[in-house]
Structures are given as structure tokens and as C-alpha cells.
């Protein structure tokens, strides 16, 4: 907009300023509203596969998608059950990593370049950066499909060891085994150039990151996930991920959505340079 046109709109700007300042921001109101609980049909037993193990298949979410009715990012981040606050991944950083993390900021977030996280923004690896994921389970493989960046993990379910011939990757190499009705997934062989989470949560990790998850389909509509994270290069102790409780979504396919929205990164870079120049 030209300087001249700016001047011509001053009167309108003043009027709109008053109007907008007086009006509550509806999106904020909606975001601040307590999440409606997901409708919970009467619990039916978890379905089972031909080999007798629970069938983890389904599209799973916290009860809704981001910004919508039923979405419960709080549930995705784990439920507090009292007592002192649980340790977080970053609170367990060793001094070297804590210092290194301070040099990073939003503009360094790998997801701005469509690079996935190692775990997931809501502490649910099935979601990665989004809030919805799909599992396709067979007795031989459990395939975990993330929606936001079209990621996948093919988890052998027969207890085999990790492969030695795969390069490090953003989401690591996963193997699985059944411990009774609990599916245990062991993931390692990560790269060291992405984060545990995303979206402003500065959380680098190392190539020694290892995540062990325990999936339990409590009933037809409920999937619980416990996980433990170790990273001897960056953490002073293992991190216990808050328990995640997901519910079955009312649809059976995730969406095919590309990741190509790269405009935000340059905006953040420019803003950071501007801020540095002002100091």
C-alpha cells in the first residue's frame, strides 16, 4: 500500500480501530472455550486380529481436529493426576544441550521446512505434527500413518531385531513385539537434525534418541499409549512421556494433504534479523 493510500484510510482506520477493539475476537473465544468431551458410545471390547492379538487398526485422535469441537490437545499432552509437575523432555537437558537450545528459536523449527518431528507436538508419535493418525494392523506388521507430513512407520510385529542396513531417519527405525495385550514399539536410529516437537517448542535431540512406546487398545474406542524416551547425549535421565488416551475417530481414512507451505520460515527469519538489528 502506498503512503498516500494510507493517509486516505485514516478515518476508516480510526472507526475500525474502535470497532475492533470493542469486539471480542471470536476465534479466541472459541479457542478458550473448554473442549467438549468426545461422545463416548458404550464401551465395546477391543477387536482382535486373526492371531488373537488386539487389533490396533483405526483412525485415532483426541476427539476432534485442531480448532474443532471435541479437539482436546490437553488430553493429547497427558492428564495431570496430582502431585508435583512431571519432568519434561527439555527440563532433563544436560547443561551442554540446554545452552545449545537457547541459541535456537522458532525460526529454526524444522517443521517450517516440512521436516517431521521425532515424537510429535502432542506427545503422540502417531500424530507427528498434526492431531490425527491412522493405524493399519496385521499380525505381521503394524503400519502407523501420520497425516500432516504423510509419514509412516512400518513396525514388524514379530519381535525381530532392528535392521542394520537402514540409514538414520527423522522418525527412526521401529520394531515391535506383543507383551500380552500391549504392543511394544522400540524406535531408534534417528537423525540428529530435527526436533522432538514443533511449533515453537525448541526441542533438539541427538542421534542416540530412543523411544519405547506401549500401545494398549483398552476397548473398541480407546487407545492408550505410554512411552519412555532416552537420549544419553542430551538428557540427564530417561523421560517418561505423559500417558496419552486417544479415541477412535468417526471416519476410517486420513486425508492426503501435501506439505508445501514454506512462507512462514522466511517471515520468521526476517523478523529475527529485524529484532537483532534493533538491539
Amino acid at each position: 500500500m502506498t503512503r498516500a493510500s494510507m493517509v486516505t484510510t485514516i478515518a476508516a482506520a480510526a472507526a475500525l480501530t474502535a470497532l475492533l477493539a470493542l469486539q471480542p475476537v471470536r476465534a479466541q473465544q472459541r479457542g478458550a472455550a473448554p473442549a467438549a468431551p468426545a461422545s463416548a458410545p458404550a464401551a465395546e471390547p477391543a477387536p482382535r486380529m486373526a492371531d488373537g492379538h488386539p487389533d490396533l487398526s483405526g483412525v485415532w485422535w483426541t476427539g476432534g481436529d485442531v480448532g474443532g469441537r471435541g479437539y482436546n490437545g490437553g488430553r493429547g499432552r497427558g492428564v495431570r493426576t496430582g502431585g508435583p509437575p512431571a519432568a519434561t523432555f527439555t527440563s532433563l537437558y544436560n547443561p551442554t544441550t540446554a545452552a545449545a537450545a537457547k541459541q535456537l528459536g522458532d525460526k529454526d523449527d524444522p517443521t517450517l521446512k516440512c521436516i517431521p518431528t521425532a515424537l510429535g507436538t502432542l506427545n503422540v508419535s502417531l500424530f507427528d505434527v498434526g492431531a490425527v493418525g491412522q493405524i493399519v494392523a496385521t499380525p505381521k506388521f503394524v503400519v502407523m500413518l501420520t497425516e500432516t507430513f504423510h509419514g509412516f512407520r512400518i513396525v514388524a510385529a514379530d519381535g525381530r531385531p532392528h535392521r542394520e542396513d537402514v540409514p538414520p531417519s527423522y522418525r527412526g527405525d521401529s520394531v515391535g513385539r506383543w507383551d500380552g495385550d500391549v504392543f511394544v514399539v522400540d524406535t531408534k536410529n534417528f537423525t540428529d537434525d530435527t526436533w522432538m516437537w514443533a511449533e515453537g517448542r525448541v526441542s533438539p535431540h541427538s542421534d542416540q534418541l530412543r523411544i519405547v512406546e506401549r500401545y494398549r487398545r483398552v476397548d473398541k474406542n480407546t487407545l492408550e499409549i505410554d512411552a519412555t524416551v532416552t537420549d544419553p547425549k542430551v538428557l540427564t535421565a530417561p523421560w517418561t512421556v505423559p500417558k496419552q488416551t486417544l479415541v477412535l475417530a468417526p471416519f476410517d481414512q486420513i486425508l492426503p494433504l501435501v506439505c508445501s507451505g514454506l512462507e512462514t520460515g522466511p517471515l520468521m527469519d526476517a523478523a529475527a534479523k529485524q529484532k537483532a538489528a534493533e538491539k
Binding site: T2, L16, A27
Partner: protein, 135 residues
């Protein structure tokens, strides 16, 4: 509102009306939430992509010059599951967008907070603000 009649209603820099955002991304690093902006123009493209959707529109200034603006919104999956359909807000639709301007003032870009059509439909960062899935 007829296309021929659309123009910039206002370009507003509002200081002091910023408020915490319950946004999906760390928007504050790229957008100044103390600088609200309201722009009216014609939709050029709605891009339903990750990590976030974008709305592009052409804004006609009083001197007749047309300026392309881009506004970042929320996750496309959230928009779609909250009721947004790709068949709406097609190219040429006149909309008014309220949001916050990018900190990089060299770019005509911002973060979408609300989008309103001429017939009164309202959208937020995550799609329609009315409907069974919206909250």
C-alpha cells in the same frame, strides 16, 4: 458487493489490541499481534496445505493499483474437518480478512484471524465458525 466495487476498506494498524492467541503454530515469531490489519479483496487462491493453509487475495487500492496479499491460517485438516469445503471461497469471491500483519513489513502478508464473505459467512483460522464441527 460487486467485484467492480471492491476496494480497500481499510488498512489498519492497531496498537494495543493484541491478545494471547490460541494458535496452532508459534505465530508470534512471524506476526506482530499488536498490529491488527483489515483488508478487503478478491480471493485468488485458497491453498489447503501443511503445515498451514494460506489465503491469497488481490486488494484494490484507492488509486486502482492491485496488491496481492497472503494470509496464513490453521492446519488444512482442521479446516476441512471443521466443515470447510474446497468448493467454497473460489477465485473472485470478495472477502474481508482481519488478522495481524507480518513483522516483515516488506511483505504483504499476515495471519488470518477472521474471514467474512459479503453474504455474512464467517471463517476463523480453522475453518467455518458455524456448523456441527465448529466450536
Amino acid at each position: 458487493m460487486k467485484r467492480a466495487g471492491y476496494a480497500v476498506l481499510a488498512f489498519v494498524l492497531l496498537f494495543g489490541v493484541g491478545a494471547p492467541l490460541s494458535a496452532h503454530h508459534s505465530f508470534a515469531a512471524a506476526y506482530d499481534t499488536t498490529k491488527a490489519i483489515t483488508v478487503q479483496g478478491a480471493i485468488v487462491q485458497v491453498r489447503l496445505t501443511n503445515p498451514h493453509s494460506w489465503f491469497f487475495l488481490d486488494v484494490k487500492e484507492p488509486d486502482g493499483k492491485v496488491t496481492r496479499w497472503a494470509f496464513e491460517a490453521g492446519t488444512p485438516s482442521g479446516m476441512i474437518r471443521n466443515g470447510y469445503k474446497a468448493s467454497e471461497l473460489t477465485a473472485g469471491t470478495i472477502v474481508t480478512i482481519r488478522g495481524f500483519r507480518a513483522r516483515d513489513l516488506s511483505q504483504n502478508m499476515g495471519m488470518l484471524q477472521t474471514l467474512t464473505t459479503a453474504d455474512g459467512k464467517s471463517y476463523g483460522m480453522f475453518g467455518p465458525q458455524e456448523g456441527p464441527a465448529a466450536r
